[in-house]
């Protein structure tokens, strides 16, 4: 099944590409009859001007583009919308439905891991005559919902209606790595619907955010349900967004009778087996591969990994989903036939997020002798699409094979600005840097530090076989200003996270 992609109704090369590929986000407003009039007082049209960094020219501030999304007013004179509506934003205006006057707005909090953002408006008068919407609960399957937003096809508020088709975990395509509870509806959702409220009986039951393009699946739209929205609102109460916490482990079903017997379980359909416990994660050192998880915070875990929660069957990780940084979770486990109870403190979010799409960050890089060095992350891989087996291995198995233990960052020779100094370096492109002058390269700042030390030869050793790449100091110095000028390189490095 294709991963849902998000697309805003705006004209950015990247988003239009996504749109083509598969999914759209929706920001739709419904003006349906009676409800529309009420919702109109809470609905906001958001115009965002953003600047997406160019990973192929990381010193460049990037192309400016603009797009339209939806949002709605919540308690405390705040506006809720999707993170992807306001990602990489430089300037933001909001309009109330029916009021032509644009107001400048600011992003207060953005949660890229659950695609939500909270905005404030500089002038308090904006909120005169508006109504804050209330958040409802999870709607029941087959019940009717209305989607409000500003999708393509016109400038005014648009409403579509559908029913709740499915309640399940789904990948949030904004980050591409996180999955949370998601509600699928069959209302038409299109680019521009993103961030708009999905209403039922006068309450918000979800935030429209992603869907499939028509050539992949028909009438499949997704909204972020209120447990996720409420969690976001609670998380930012302390003035900071702390991200989701996670057990950082994998688990397998335990249907097999022999496996159950071998692990000392009875035939009661309880328990899942732990596969991998990721080093550096919160469960590392507390839970082991092969342990059987029986209960989470006292709730029985079925052999397919589900628990009964709020009257429905959901993956047991939903318990962790609803927790915050600093909380802990209690697990009843069976290890080597013995029962024990453990507490897993959920102190830090998962530290190795290089496989998530990143936003609101400037790309880090070092330029030296016309060679461009960058840390590898999803953004870089998306931009260059390198076809290099070794790099692909290190990236794909970065977490699974514990590559992060040796290198918290993979630094790659991503690009060459051709000059006589680097005339023979072409074959090294997309190699991961192992050492520079015998200094182990564990992160991009190590590259900058290694090149800062004067020496006659800079010897750059790559991961894998092959000769080292060698640059003479004299040649590099001679070429320095020439390269910067010729290629318009405004800065030779950016190392801030």
């Amino acid at each position: 099944m294709p991963t849902p992609r998000i697309a805003l109704g705006w004209v950015s090369a990247r988003l239009s590409e996504m749109l083509r590929v598969s999914l759209f986000l929706f920001c739709v407003f419904l003006a349906a009859a009676l409800h529309a009039a009420e919702v109109a007082e809470s609905l906001v049209r958001i115009e965002a001007t953003s600047q997406e960094p160019n990973y192929k020219a990381p010193w460049s501030p990037g192309d400016v583009s603009s797009g339209v999304g939806a949002g709605f007013i919540v308690q405390g004179d705040r506006i809720l919308t999707n993170a992807h509506v306001v990602s990489n934003v430089r300037f933001l205006t909001v309009n109330k439905e029916g009021d032509p006057k644009p107001y400048a707005a600011k992003v207060l909090y953005v949660a890229h891991d659950c695609d939500l953002a909270m905005l404030s408006v500089d002038k308090a008068e904006f909120f005169n005559g508006t109504t804050a919407l209330e958040l409802g609960d999870i709607p029941v399957i087959e019940s009717t919902v209305s989607v409000y937003g500003y999708p393509i096809g016109g400038k005014r508020l648009s409403v579509t209606r559908g029913i709740v088709s499915r309640i399940d975990f789904q990948t949030y395509s904004h980050s591409g790595m996180d999955s949370h509870l998601t509600i699928q509806i069959d209302a038409a959702i299109n680019p521009g619907n993103s961030g708009g409220p999905v209403m039922q009986k006068g309450k918000v039951v979800g935030v429209a955010f992603q869907g499939y393009s028509g050539d992949v699946a028909q009438n499949v739209g997704y909204m972020i349900p209120t447990p996720v929205v409420k969690r976001f609102l609670k998380d930012v109460e302390d003035g900071r967004y702390d991200r989701y916490v996670d057990l950082a482990l994998t688990e397998q079903n335990l249907f097999n009778p022999a496996a159950r017997k071998a692990l000392g379980l009875t035939d009661d359909d309880v328990g899942v087996q732990v596969g991998t416990v990721y080093g550096g994660g919160p469960s590392d050192g507390i839970i082991k591969s092969g342990d059987v998880l029986l209960r989470i915070d006292g709730l029985r875990i079925a052999s397919d990994g589900t628990i009964d929660l709020d009257g429905g069957s959901v993956p047991f990780t939903e318990v962790v989903e609803r927790k915050f940084r600093g909380d802990s979770v209690q697990l009843d486990i069976l290890r080597d036939g013995a029962s024990l109870q453990v507490q897993v403190p959920l102190s830090e979010p998962w530290p190795f997020s290089l496989q998530s799409s990143a936003y609101d960050v400037r790309p880090q890089f070092v330029v030296f002798g016309g060679l461009v060095f960058q840390p590898v992350d999803q953004n870089l891989m998306d931009e260059y699409k390198p076809s290099n087996l070794r790099l692909e291995y290190l990236f794909d198995f970065f977490v699974e094979d514990g590559i992060y233990r040796e290198r918290p960052e993979l630094v790659v020779l991503s690009n060459i600005l051709p000059d006589s100094v680097n005339a023979y370096a072409k074959d090294f492109v997309f190699s991961v840097v192992d050492e520079i002058n015998e200094q182990k390269i564990r992160r991009i700042s190590d590259v900058a530090a290694a090149f800062a030390k004067p020496t006659d030869y800079y010897v750059i050793k790559m991961v894998g076989t092959g000769r080292p790449l060698v640059l003479e100091r004299k040649a590099v110095e001679e070429a320095r200003s020439r390269i910067l000028e010729r290629y318009g390189v405004t800065s030779e490095y950016y190392l801030k996270k």
Partner: protein, 525 residues
């Protein structure tokens, strides 16, 4: 391992189109080393045909070329107890000395039945594949009817060739007429041969060939001598890849079981003046040794990573790895070690190591196959497997990965692709990579149906380095269970050993398995 190294060599920029070529015999390059005379070959004593074109072709047709039809059937690596549907391949074979017919190995790969057919009379004889060598993509066929080749004449091999020379490709029309298409040699270089990815001397011929049946193996001749066998043709660029005569000669003159020798190194060019200064190299030319495969000819001789190879048997090697060949012009030096040298021949390397020049003799050897982790091809032999209670185990190989289709590098399971690609970097003694390929669902495997292509680490507590390990370990279940552990999730699964034992026959019947295992030629590691 060695195969992979050579593969790397072939992919290296050394073979780029801009490799300097010195085509003119007036080339001012002189070196103090006497050129080595090619060793005389019995093939050269053969009479060659030197008449008009039409006559040549008729004479050839009657005396030296034959249609070859082969029905081939490969094994299905996803169901290793089965063969895939048979396919037919046709080609044109060349008669060589000793009453044998030379064809490409690809033509008769996994053959069930081979048939020779005289072009003019359509007279047929079945044939036996007497020798096949997947390194050089060549095979020798022997007609089962000893009288079949009476009145035929073997073809001599052309000795030397230059870029710009002409060659005529021969095809057989349905009516038995010989179609002749003249082409021009556009390059002579070491290139990758299919099947084993070994880098050997290859001619490229620009030739407007027509599509006729018989696209596997077409002889190319010049002045009545064999120039090479077409093994690949790209219709868009009208470019044919020819197995070259030195490779054919090496094959014909080697003992039946001998394989092509290999250096077992990967090297890179030394064009970069900054790098040359860094290593203190003032001599001209030379290539840099990046990697030395353990147990290879180079490793045995003491060649080390970081050495610079300056000359071979006194022939200077340029910065891209080429030497001046008396017969073919600028050619990568691996032609000398892999083809000119026979297995067991000693060659002398001139090396630059740690600022000093030195000479090192190296005995060129075919690689020791026992160290190969993932075989590049497994033609003509049924794949081994073990089925344990519905779990199908086999060993990682390139043909297994190729079952995912032409784009297998991107579509096969990533971990296995990486194991295959980087197998020469695995720790010594890693052994074979045993895979749980799939699960044939039975009651014992409930909950495991979705498992595919996992790397097995242990079975019943015993480390797994070969399929034999799996079979042996399966004899000793732990407390009544088979415990199978993997590198990736789900990490561990269990089977009820008694149930597996009791249901063996049912499993065989349910999935029509001929046997629960095949372990031909396997050794425990």
């Amino acid at each position: 391992m060695i195969r992979l190294l050579v593969f790397l060599i072939c992919l290296s920029p050394l073979l780029a189109a801009d490799t300097p070529k010195i085509a003119s015999p007036k080339s001012p390059i002189k070196h103090p080393y006497a050129p080595v005379e090619p060793s005389p070959s019995p093939l050269e004593d053969l009479e060659s045909l030197e008449e008009g074109d039409a006559l040549v072709s008729r004479k050839l047709a009657e005396s030296s070329i034959l249609r070859v039809n082969s029905t081939n059937q490969a094994y299905d690596f996803f169901q290793p107890w089965l063969k895939k549907s048979p396919i037919s391949r046709r080609g044109v074979g060349v008669l060589v000395q000793g009453g044998r017919v030379l064809v490409t190995a690809e033509l008769v790969m996994n053959s069930n039945f081979v048939e020779l057919e005289k072009a003019t009379t359509a007279e047929k004889s079945s044939a036996t594949v007497e020798r096949v060598d997947y390194d050089c993509n060549l095979a020798l066929l022997r007609p089962n009817d000893p009288a079949f080749l009476e009145g035929t004449k073997p073809l001599a091999l052309e000795k030397s060739l230059r870029v710009g020379g002409e060659a005529t490709v021969l095809q057989v029309e349905t009516n038995g007429e010989i179609a002749q298409t003249i082409g021009e040699i556009t390059s002579i270089s070491v290139g990758t041969y299919p099947l084993e990815n070994l880098g050997l001397l290859l001619y490229k011929l620009r030739v407007p060939l027509q599509q006729r049946d018989g696209s596997f193996t077409l002889p190319a001749v010049s002045d009545g001598r064999l120039v090479g066998l077409v093994m690949r043709f790209d219709a868009r660029s009208q470019s044919a890849d020819l197995i070259s005569t030195p490779v054919i000669r090496h094959f014909l003159e080697s003992p039946a079981k001998a394989r092509f020798p290999r250096m077992g190194i990967a090297f890179s060019s030394l064009r970069d003046p900054q790098f040359r200064r860094f290593i203190g190299l003032t001599e001209p030319g030379g290539v840099y040794v990046n990697e030395v495969s353990p147990h290879g000819s180079a490793a045995e001789a003491g060649i080390k990573k970081g050495d610079v190879i300056l000359a071979l048997d006194g022939r200077p090697i340029d910065q891209d790895g080429n030497y001046e060949d008396p017969n073919f012009g600028r050619v990568l030096f691996s032609h000398l070690t892999n083809t000119v040298a026979k297995s067991g021949t000693e060659v002398i390397f001139t090396l630059f190591r740690s600022g000093k020049l030195m000479k090192l003799p190296a005995k060129m050897q075919a690689p020791d196959r026992s160290h190969v982790v993932s075989e590049a091809q497994l033609a003509d032999q049924p794949p081994n497997y073990v089925v344990l209670g519905g779990l199908v185990f086999l060993e990682l190989s390139r043909p297994y990965l190729q079952e995912w289709g032409n784009d297998w590098i991107n579509t096969a399971p990533k971990r296995l692709v990486y194991y295959d690609a980087f197998q020469n970097e695995l720790p010594e003694g890693r052994g074979k990579i045993v895979i749980l390929d799939q699960v044939l669902p039975v009651s014992e495997t409930l909950g495991y149906e979705a498992i595919r292509s996992l790397v097995v680490t242990q079975v019943n507590g015993r480390p797994v380095r070969s399929l034999v390990d799996v079979a042996e370990a399966a004899k000793k279940p732990l407390k009544g269970f088979h415990k199978i552990e993997f590198e990736e999730d789900p990490k561990t699964i269990f089977l009820d050993a008694a149930a597996v034992e009791a249901h063996q026959k049912a499993l065989i019947e349910q999935y029509s398995l001929p046997a629960l295992q095949r372990l031909k030629g396997e050794k425990s590691r």
